[in-house]
Subunit: 110 residues, 2 copies
DNA sequence: GGTCAGCGCAACCAGGAGGTTGCCCAATGA
DNA sequence: TCATTGGGCAACCTCCTGGTTGCGCTGACC
């Protein structure tokens, strides 16, 4: 279903956003269900705050994460729908392959 | 399990390989379970054979696809294990998020 | 009010990604 | 044998990406 309308967030853009170890790390940290500020996420990352900001923008652009300004800080939290969609996409590819293989096998064996 | 030992193929590299519409298209075509040559895959893609070759190298490097030289042509076919691994990774992230949310909710409500 | 912490914006830079062209090599098949 | 077909290799180009630094702004706190 994915009702929350991830329009424009193509699977490619989601995969691309996940295709970076730093961003995967950020996603891992954000998957604790809590909100995190930028400096908090920067902590322990051997990167500038600006670099982390850019990564968060990429994640946000892919719909993996949402930003919310609270006072002087930007809070980010995960939006798991995009992840679910990406997983569904992979499931579909897998299924397609499985079925194709089954058909080929059946065609040979009969 | 994923016994075929996809060592070195980090999730990030798999996601990165999938993070391109052309490569997603190639994966879609290859998920018919058959082997395809390069010129065959180039057909209808508005790209040079060389460009497609590079994309296939990326897919191969991520373990999504294998090459086999037969006569004068290179045959490619899908290796679905990498896809399954990527999907499992996303499932793990989703589960982690679900559990975290459940814990937070329980902590609030009691 | 002044200071500090948290960010945003813009400029800049090096390296990699995606793509092309040109050339050459090996199989294939008439 | 010889033309054709499928590919590999290398050079080259452009644009995007990941990263930095510098600066200025605003909210929090004493």
């Amino acid at each position: 279903m994915s009702r929350t309308s991830l329009r424009g967030r193509s699977p490619a853009s989601v995969f691309s956003a996940l295709g970076d170890t730093t961003r995967l790390e950020l996603v891992a940290r954000l998957s604790d269900g809590k909100q995190h500020s930028i400096t908090e996420l920067t902590d322990g990352l051997a990167l500038t705050r600006q670099a982390v900001t850019k990564h968060l923008q990429v994640l946000s652009g892919a719909g993996l994460v949402t930003r919310k300004r609270i006072g002087r800080e930007s809070r980010f939290d995960m939006r798991p729908d995009a992840i679910a969609d990406a997983r569904d996409y992979l499931t579909r590819v897998s299924d397609q392959w499985d079925q194709a293989i089954a058909r080929l096998r059946a065609a040979v064996e009969e």
